[in-house]
Symmetry: D5
Subunit: 147 residues, 10 copies
Amino acid sequence: MKREICTALMLEAKQEKGISFQQIADEIGRSIVWTTSAILGQNTCDAIESKKVCELLGLGIDIEKAFQQFPSKGTEAIMPPTDPLIYRLYEIVLIYGDTIKQVIHEKLGDGIMSAIDFNMQIEKEENPNGDRVKITLDGKFLPYKKW
Amino acid sequence: MKREICTALMLEAKQEKGISFQQIADEIGRSIVWTTSAILGQNTCDAIESKKVCELLGLGIDIEKAFQQFPSKGTEAIMPPTDPLIYRLYEIVLIYGDTIKQVIHEKLGDGIMSAIDFNMQIEKEENPNGDRVKITLDGKFLPYKKW
Amino acid sequence: MKREICTALMLEAKQEKGISFQQIADEIGRSIVWTTSAILGQNTCDAIESKKVCELLGLGIDIEKAFQQFPSKGTEAIMPPTDPLIYRLYEIVLIYGDTIKQVIHEKLGDGIMSAIDFNMQIEKEENPNGDRVKITLDGKFLPYKKW
Amino acid sequence: MKREICTALMLEAKQEKGISFQQIADEIGRSIVWTTSAILGQNTCDAIESKKVCELLGLGIDIEKAFQQFPSKGTEAIMPPTDPLIYRLYEIVLIYGDTIKQVIHEKLGDGIMSAIDFNMQIEKEENPNGDRVKITLDGKFLPYKKW
Amino acid sequence: MKREICTALMLEAKQEKGISFQQIADEIGRSIVWTTSAILGQNTCDAIESKKVCELLGLGIDIEKAFQQFPSKGTEAIMPPTDPLIYRLYEIVLIYGDTIKQVIHEKLGDGIMSAIDFNMQIEKEENPNGDRVKITLDGKFLPYKKW
Amino acid sequence: MKREICTALMLEAKQEKGISFQQIADEIGRSIVWTTSAILGQNTCDAIESKKVCELLGLGIDIEKAFQQFPSKGTEAIMPPTDPLIYRLYEIVLIYGDTIKQVIHEKLGDGIMSAIDFNMQIEKEENPNGDRVKITLDGKFLPYKKW
Amino acid sequence: MKREICTALMLEAKQEKGISFQQIADEIGRSIVWTTSAILGQNTCDAIESKKVCELLGLGIDIEKAFQQFPSKGTEAIMPPTDPLIYRLYEIVLIYGDTIKQVIHEKLGDGIMSAIDFNMQIEKEENPNGDRVKITLDGKFLPYKKW
Amino acid sequence: MKREICTALMLEAKQEKGISFQQIADEIGRSIVWTTSAILGQNTCDAIESKKVCELLGLGIDIEKAFQQFPSKGTEAIMPPTDPLIYRLYEIVLIYGDTIKQVIHEKLGDGIMSAIDFNMQIEKEENPNGDRVKITLDGKFLPYKKW
Amino acid sequence: MKREICTALMLEAKQEKGISFQQIADEIGRSIVWTTSAILGQNTCDAIESKKVCELLGLGIDIEKAFQQFPSKGTEAIMPPTDPLIYRLYEIVLIYGDTIKQVIHEKLGDGIMSAIDFNMQIEKEENPNGDRVKITLDGKFLPYKKW
Amino acid sequence: MKREICTALMLEAKQEKGISFQQIADEIGRSIVWTTSAILGQNTCDAIESKKVCELLGLGIDIEKAFQQFPSKGTEAIMPPTDPLIYRLYEIVLIYGDTIKQVIHEKLGDGIMSAIDFNMQIEKEENPNGDRVKITLDGKFLPYKKW
């Protein structure tokens, strides 16, 4: 079974059973962001996690196996994004990309922030002037090697 | 004077005088991220801020004025980015864009995170396994309006 | 059920029953523009609205549920548009985009017009020299925040 | 003199003299939107209008002449737009383009809204919850001809 | 029934019955160019025309209805065209587009040739040095409006 | 001298002297369309034509020589065109390209209309309902060769 | 039957029967290059050729008919090509295109080599240092017409 | 001196002195095609060839040296080509690319024709029905290696 | 059977049987890299290799035959790659492409490294600071020919 | 001084003095590949390295300083590459990208090869059948982190 079909079947089961991403995350002891990305086919569960998720969603052994495959990442993404929510993130890279580069270089020197040794949190901040979204990106600084 | 020329002259003066973005930020009482973005032509200083920055950098009245113009944003950005540091940010949108959409919808409902009523922090986290970069995006949640 | 299939089935039922977008809009007490955009998969009805629309179109519970999903927006759009009617709108952005930017900045300062906290009206204006179309875009002004 | 150079010189003079687009518009008895678009090289003034504008801005006969040329339109536009203000307009076409098509067809039949026999107003609407921008597009309906 | 399926079925029936586009055009009293474009899903027949075409092609009521829908135009076109015949037309726009602009402006002033209030003829010209194709485009001149 | 500089200097001289494309065409006994395309760098004058044009425009021997070079065609064109007048021509290829292909095949068989052994006329048609533009494309039919 | 399906069925039959393109070419008295291009949907056989090919491949009347349709050419091609063999041809145009233009202009004057009144041969040249491929393109010179 | 400036100066000198590519080729004992490609910056002359060419064109030692640099190839090419002559070559790859692949595979097996160990001839063929251009591509067959 | 379907069925069988690429490579006496590329449809096995692979995977004669077809290469690749692992390779070409060109020219002269007469090894290097990946590309140097 | 100008001046001085990349590399005790990439503006020398390189090339303090700036990487690269040498590297990613992904996953698990904590060697291998180029890529394996 291809990974994309696995993703589609999991989302369908999730919708039908009315289970939230948070519930799935709690089941396997991972954060909601990472768990959601795994279900959307961008990260990989091991055998134990896969089993728990499939039991919760009432899915069989073939999906349990397919869910452990290493996916080809990003193949479904539309760039530039058409969805307004995702476009706003893209716009931040567009408008602030060079700013982030300059500030990281000033604070840490010549290198990059890893997108692999990396984690992300998304939180709701209640605010009387309108709630806010807070996204925290936390990646290892990788200095350029010389040789 | 066009805003791009203003940007180029400010960066040249900054390099020559050996002034950091942090020093400029402290001068006007803004964060380093916002200040850097303003100098790079993505945000706008008012007359007082502009004056202080130009005095610090030893620049004249014409730059002081041009620095207050509302810029055309993002015109210099290369998308997809070729610089590895900026590409990693783009990759996060590519790989995690849909994940962020799903998690925001689950936590706050139908709407987006504003990239206008928005701020960003960039910090260095010291870590024995290698220092880390922590980027915090904090934007107002804008629910879709019906009519 | 995926949102796109939901859209296709609703349009088919609408065509078969000979119901206009205006009639559906009246049923749920929303404007024709917003209602049409919801049916085309660009906005989201709540449970009550969804029920009313599906009853009017004679559609079952699964469509009623799918119609409440938050859609991935803009995924079907062709840019630049090939259809002449939609291209003319694109051309207005192409030719007048910078003009609109300058006028908004002159009238309201540094900020944008929101496309989220936003509504639109489309009206026919009868005119002896040929009828006219009048489109009104009305969005909240979001000033750029400093930090 | 090429039209682009004419545009650049007019903007420079306008900035130096501190004249607003509204003042120029009043001088020639046109709306601010049309006048701004003409100065930005997207519409054409006749000899009388051109003279008045150049006198107001203190510009010579060569600019007065160049300002009457029919420009190549849209050559400076970036699509998709990178500036957030202009992108929001583009996004409205992206998200609502098909909706506008359906509503115009339902209200006026098979045809398009002209972007040539066309005018636009931009107004500020004061609002205690935050000011709003109101853009009105008004174009002739052109029915498709059969032959 | 979607308009594209309607197109495919009509072309299949036409091929099977060995009916030419000219015969269909004669049946409804329209030119061959307009009739062909309608069958290819770029223009719209009314109820009477639709009935006649479907009777000639031996097609049922569902196609007759679908054939009256307002299509999304140009969605199947490949640009730049890969087919040599269509590419040559594209090349004429590429090479002579600016020439046509200059000549129209010199002869009629500031405006455009409408592609909506428009008709086209295609004729074979017999010629001893090799037959020629003559395409006549005839569109209303729309002067730019000021406001 | 490069051909593009030659073009720019000729246009400048033409504007300064107030000479129309028609006058230049009459001077060398060619049509206005072909003459305009030659001046815009898309066709080539021979030595005699070149001499006449340069005398009329008051230009020297170096331009006279450069004007006889075979140009690299189409290098300045923007595709898809941003100028509304040129876009409408592009739209005709987009919307009617396949129609033209079908009609030529039905009338002349398998082959193309040449864009090289080719001429074009542009005329103003006065009309009480608004003047019209008539563009006639006349190209040799080239049947596909078998071997 | 659509031309693409016809192509697919012919290739399948050819593979199954183990017939070479050369054998098909010999059957209809055409070169291997032209015959291969016809089977791949880029050229058109007449009724007699079509019959012979279909008999050789053991295919029925519907394919025989579909094989006589005038195809939409080049629709399956990927540009720039990803296959190394086809990319090398593309690279020759990329690297030597302007060279070929200059040499043809020096040898034959202002015009082009037709890709319609055109034939191509492909031969294997045995060579002790490694065999070579020899491709000969032979097209009519079409001088640009003036009018 | 950059290689592009070297190319521009050589073409200028060639035009001024009225020397043909054939004459330059004869001077260094190379074919006209290869010599033209070297002058256009796509191949490299050695010291002796470079000296001869520069003497013929009356150019100095700095150009003689720059002419021996290994160029970055293809950087000036426009793809897809806009010039009709070069486009026809591109079209041959577009339409016949897969045909050439199939015929080479049938005649020589799995491999490619080299565009490096490669030569090309361009000849004029006089013909009473119109002269023809004959281009011969001759490249080494490189079989795919297994390992 | 099309080559892509052959690839899909082989991957499915491989997954089901739990066979590694290394085991398949050992079975036919080829390297793991080449064998993997053949299974992914980028290289071609001969009859004997094909038989062995299909027996190992328990696949029938039709797949055995299809596996010997010469594939159209690279058709499934996404460029720029979205998968982070493949993007890093693309980035190396982006960032170091010109460096590699300069170093090869300095060490071997004017020519290229073949991607056809070519092999690649991929090895894991254990390292206490974190394991490393070592990729070795080994291609024939092809000097540019003159003629 | 901008980094691109610094690069251009260093290459000019290098060419004039006849110094090889290897000599510069030896001067600073780095490999030829890394040193070349630094001069081409893709990596950064520290103050001591910069001083040595500038002394060797006879360049002043302003270049010495500019050479220590962190560059925007990859901004000059053309993708897909037009130069045949660089294209062959791109082609390897195109054809073998997925193969490399599969083999790395089979040998090291879910993760990527870093392009930052990375080095590259380029060597000439003498070979009686034609010299070969050997490129070794050696990057840290970064396993995907879960959180």
